[in-house]
């Protein structure tokens, strides 16, 4: 058999995690470099996947399949379609930046015993998350996916709860309590979703007798596997609930602002740019493929919820006082767009949604990381504590501006392409929804520009007067992201070509065709 590329791509960071964790307490810096090395190695493998993957070819490629738990009908089955490749690429790409950005976030204040090695733990956990996320993008076995979907919560949980944002308004005690509250909320919320999904997973097994996505999908398509309407709907809801919590979709979103607010900026990026993508990805791959009828049945409700997320998230972002919470609510709004695009069930919508996952990942990373650098300088997350930064740290302000512009999806930057695709894709089938969603772009402009104005412009505040501009390490983190934003905004073709066939498959799963233009329809 050929070289198990997919397994390797997930194994490298996993091994990296173990190695990093094993580094003795004193050799903190070594651990950092090791982590960076392994993340880069993963990136290389991800690129190899991208090269080896033939967009036009089989739906699932580079597949691997090994017996695992026969009693549960579970196999270790991997395979990637275009969407998977794209998201693996995103993950592998972002992690090195996350690691670089978090370089000093886990340096221990000189308390704690010799055996207490937070730095090692921090980077090991990040790599562990990467491994699980990548594998979950590759899994074509529902059970395997579920296991990762749940397991990745644990390292995330420790990352959020263990390494909080040091720039905290309240006392250390208060900070600790709020942090663990956020972490517990994150874990329980997602665990609850996951357990509901577990019931559905078991139900699926009872109905289908195995967990292989391809087999089940094939059986569904060929009609061998009949599902009673209600069964299908219940199972769909079980799955969708978990994904909607993870995504997150209104009204299941409240864990995100806490988590992103309390976590360090890099971890916040990890949450919203990487881990949450698993939720939207799973909607595309599992909900639509396994339960096409139910998906169509649920579409109206989901679209409404997505709309609410878009507008509601944006409005709340306007109302935030805390930079990171603002970004969090902005993300909720963006996830609304993604979910809307998925369930519009048009090629533009779903290609747009997939593209949106990528672009949102990059743009949020850019904005959030710069915000993190800003916060680390001033030691406060409150917007009101800043002002006139532009004058003292022009580069920082500039990058921050680009990040903001990407967030309001300015044409020429990557997010515009995806957002417009989603809007068009939705509009062609649900014009009203599309129009309402368009208000989102105005609100986006509002909250990003208000944020920029309050923090960067105006007279220079004394506290920021001595603020240093971006350091080299920080520039190394931000510059490539911005370059990527511009490149994908001008030339998204590589990604769209990767994604289009996969989207085509998904649409044929749900037996939906794009609505014809009026003019052609008339002919």
């Amino acid at each position: 058999m050929s070289f198990p590329l997919l397994t390797a791509t997930a194994a490298v960071p996993a091994i990296g995690a173990i190695v990093t964790a094993a580094v003795p307490a004193a050799r903190r810096t070594a651990a950092k470099w090791l982590a960076l090395f392994f993340s880069l190695a993963t990136l290389v493998l991800a690129i190899v996947i991208g090269v080896r993957f033939a967009p036009g070819g089989e739906r699932y490629q580079l597949t691997e399949s090994h017996a695992w738990i026969a009693d549960f009908g579970v196999r270790y089955e991997l395979g990637v379609d275009g969407i998977g490749v794209a998201l693996i690429g995103l993950t592998a790409l972002l992690i090195p930046f996350v690691i670089l950005a978090g370089w000093h976030d886990a340096d221990p204040e000189e308390t704690g015993s010799k055996r207490w090695r937070p730095t090692q733990g921090f980077f090991a956990l990040i790599l562990m998350v990467e491994a699980m996320v990548i594998l979950s993008f590759e899994a074509t076995d529902v059970f395997l996916f579920y296991i990762l979907f749940e397991a990745m919560l644990i390292p995330m949980y420790f990352l959020i709860g263990g390494f909080g944002d040091r720039a905290h308004a309240g006392s250390d005690e208060k900070a600790a309590t709020q942090r663990s509250y956020a972490a517990v909320k994150f874990l329980l919320y997602n665990l609850a979703g996951g357990l509901i999904m577990l019931a559905a997973v078991i139900g699926l097994y009872v109905v289908a007798g195995n967990f292989s996505l391809q087999e089940i999908a094939a059986a569904r398509a060929s009609g061998e596997l009949e599902m009673a309407t209600n069964t299908e709907r219940l199972l769909f809801l079980g799955f969708f609930f978990a994904f909607a919590v993870k995504a997150p979709l209104w009204p299941l979103h409240t864990w995100l602002p806490n988590a992103m607010g309390e976590a360090t900026a890099p971890v916040a990026v990890l949450i919203t740019a990487v881990v949450d993508k698993v939720g939207t990805f799973a909607m595309l791959r599992f909900c639509l493929q396994l339960f096409p009828e139910a998906s169509k049945w649920a579409t109206p409700v989901i679209l409404v919820l997505a709309l609410i997320s878009i507008v509601y998230g944006a409005l709340l972002a306007v109302g935030q006082r805390d930079i990171k919470r603002l970004v969090a609510y902005a993300s909720i709004s963006h996830f609304g767009f993604i979910i809307m695009g998925i369930f519009a069930m048009t090629s533009q919508g779903q290609s747009g949604a997939t593209l949106y996952m990528i672009n949102h990942g990059i743009s949020t990373a850019a904005l959030m990381l710069v915000a993190g650098f800003l916060i680390s300088r001033r030691g406060s997350r409150l917007i009101a504590d800043y002002g006139g930064v532009q004058k003292v740290a022009p580069v920082l302000a500039g990058t921050f501006l680009v990040g903001s512009l990407a967030t309001l999806s300015l044409p020429g930057l990557a997010p515009f392409v995806s957002e417009f695709l989603v809007l068009v894709g939705t509009f062609t089938r649900y014009p009203v929804v599309g129009i309402i969603a368009t208000f989102g772009i105005v609100l986006a402009a509002l909250y990003t520009l208000v944020l920029y104005q309050r923090t960067m412009t105006g007279p220079v505040k004394v506290e920021v007067a001595r603020m240093p501009d971006l350091r080299v390490r920080e520039l190394v983190v931000v510059a490539p992201l911005i370059a990527l934003l511009i490149f994908l905004g001008v030339y998204p073709k590589p990604v769209t070509e990767l994604v289009n066939p996969a989207v085509g498959h998904t649409l044929s799963d749900v037996q939906k065709k794009d609505p014809k233009p009026e003019v052609e329809a008339a002919k």
């Binding site: 738990i69 009693d71 015993s113 942090r179 329980l188 357990l195 577990l198 019931a199 139900g203």
Partner: protein, 548 residues
């Protein structure tokens, strides 16, 4: 009553010419015999070996016995007694079949690991230059009295715990294999009585220890009285106490029906009431709601090694017996007991999970968690399918090791007053000793049923079986209550890792290889069964058939 009546009373039983000696298949009974024998030897040791040497001799005897017994079990299983050769031995008193051997193996291993924690002597500071374990120097002496001090000074140790444990294990080995009600009852008592005593033998907090023993004893005896009455009624219904016989009568497939039998057979109330009382007796042992109330108090008061041993082994044995009773004796009554068990399972899962949320003592917390788990296992029992049996067997195997391991960790966290079991003392443990905290976190995650731990595999197995057995609603309630349960496991993790250590916090004692083995085995099993459970699932699957 009239003389004639009296006369008839002792003549009805037909005069007996000669009694032929019973046939005993010693080979098949080897595991039990070894353990019981070793226990008797242990008594001898207590009587004849000098104080200093006793501890070592006892430990040696116990460990050897358990290992040998386990080897015997493996031998029997290898000899096909688990599947093809499964048979009923000792004049129908004991069944040697898949479930029996699987559970006996589990009990023996857990027992072995538990005995290691019994023998741990490095945790408590030395008293007058003598290493001490977690058992009282002299059970007879009044707590805090001069007698006790003298005993400690003299370096007495309660080495009786080893034979006691052996007796208990012996009883537990028979319990799930018992093939008639009498054996069931005797086995129950044989493993209960030593446990009552073990509970009373804590070195620290002796008042609580004694209290727990009293509660356990009185309630245990109370429940066994019910069990016995149930036995009486069922016997009255079926005219026999052998499982197969009863099953035949229940199914109505019995050959020669004499008038008396025909008379009682007509009266289902006997059977139903008796059956219910039998169930009650067993549900008490597994700690199912509403027969659970002894669990928290006893778990908290008993010496922690004993708690671990009880929590793990008793559950295994009791569920084994419960399975056999429901699957061999009362399958004919399935439509009567299933709904009832549904109710019991639901309340057990929910109450265990909910009440645990507000617990402040780690041992009580684990007690309630064990109640919740009993509920999960019951869900598998209810499935009433071969899958159900094997899933329960697997769950028991997975669960028992996690439990022993977890309680072993509890013994390590100590302050001046012995073990620091109050949760507030565990704050910031992750900072002081990351390793211990991490290990405990692994156990907690396994309890919570997080994927890649044995807890998840087990939970998935039973829920799957239940769903296939048509108990979908039960599964939903199951996942909900495990969501609730997750909360307090997480709480402990938060406490250990995310809160600042208290200055006067407890220290983590460095244990001897004994406890380390116990914990190590626990972790290993937890992870192996979590990542690659297939082999053990097969084992359980093959062992999933009862002999009649």
């Amino acid at each position: 009553m009239s003389a004639s009546a009296v006369h008839s009373l002792w003549t009805t039983a037909a005069p007996i010419e000669k009694i032929d000696a019973p046939t005993i298949e010693y080979a098949q009974l080897l595991p039990t015999l070894i353990v019981i024998g070793a226990a008797v030897v242990g008594i001898g040791v207590e009587a004849f070996v000098g104080r200093k040497a006793r501890y070592y001799v006892q430990m040696f005897v116990t460990v050897v016995a358990l290992v040998a017994a386990f080897a015997a079990v493996i031998g029997l299983a290898a000899g096909g007694h688990a599947s093809t050769e499964a048979q009923i031995v000792a004049m129908g008193a004991i069944a040697v079949d898949g479930p029996a051997l699987f559970l006996q193996g589990t009990i023996l291993l857990t027992g072995l690991v538990a005995v290691f924690t019994f023998a741990e002597r490095r945790l408590d500071p030395q008293a007058h230059g003598n290493q001490v374990d977690s058992f009282t120097a002299q059970a007879a002496s009044v707590p805090g009295s001069d007698g006790e001090k003298a005993a400690i000074k003299a370096g007495f140790t309660t080495t009786e715990v080893f034979p006691l444990a052996l007796f208990a294990i012996g009883g537990m080995l028979v319990f799930p294999a018992a093939n008639d009600l009498l054996t069931l009852f005797i086995a129950l008592e044989v493993f209960s009585l030593p446990l009552y005593l073990l509970c009373a033998l804590a070195r620290r907090k002796r008042l609580m220890s004694q209290e727990s023993a009293v509660k356990y004893f009185l309630l245990g005896a109370f429940s066994s009285a019910f069990l016995l009455f149930g036995i009486a009624l069922v016997y009255g219904y079926a005219g026999t106490v052998s499982y197969a016989g009863i099953a035949d009568v229940v199914d109505g497939t019995v050959q020669n029906i004499d008038p008396a039998l025909a008379d009682t057979m007509g009266n289902d109330a006997l059977l139903l009431v008796g059956g219910a009382m039998l169930l009650m007796g067993l549900l008490f042992k597994v700690g199912a709601v509403p027969f659970h109330m002894w669990t928290p108090d006893v778990y908290q008061g008993a010496p922690t090694p004993v708690t671990g041993f009880m929590a793990a082994a008793t559950k295994v044995a009791a569920f084994g017996a419960l399975l056999r009773l429901l699957y061999v004796v009362l399958p004919g009554l399935r439509w009567d007991w299933r709904p009832v068990m549904w109710g019991v399972a639901i309340v057990t899962m929910l109450l265990g999970a909910i009440v645990a949320i507000t617990q402040t003592d780690i041992k009580r917390l684990l007690a309630y968690s064990s109640i919740a788990h009993a509920g999960f296992i019951l869900a598998g029992v209810i499935a009433a399918t071969p899958d159900g049996i094997s899933s329960v067997l697997f769950y028991l195997g997975a669960y028992s090791f996690v439990t022993v391991g977890a309680f072993a960790v509890v013994t390590l966290v100590r302050d001046a007053g012995g073990e620091a079991t109050h949760l507030s003392k565990w704050a910031g443990l992750g900072r002081r000793s990351p390793l211990v905290a991490a290990v405990f976190a692994v156990f907690l995650l396994a309890f919570a049923g997080i994927p890649l731990t044995s807890g998840f595999s087990g939970k998935f197995a039973v829920f799957k079986a239940a769903a296939e057995g048509g108990a979908g609603a039960l599964v939903v309630i199951g996942v909900i209550s495990s969501a609730i349960a997750a909360f307090f496991y997480i709480r402990v993790i938060v406490l250990m890792f995310f809160s600042e250590p208290k200055p006067e916090g407890p220290t983590v004692a460095v244990p001897s290889p004994l406890t380390m083995t116990a914990i190590g085995v626990g972790v290993a099993v937890t992870l192996v069964l979590g990542v690659a459970p297939q082999y053990f699932l097969d084992l359980a699957g093959q062992a999933g058939v009862f002999v009649r």
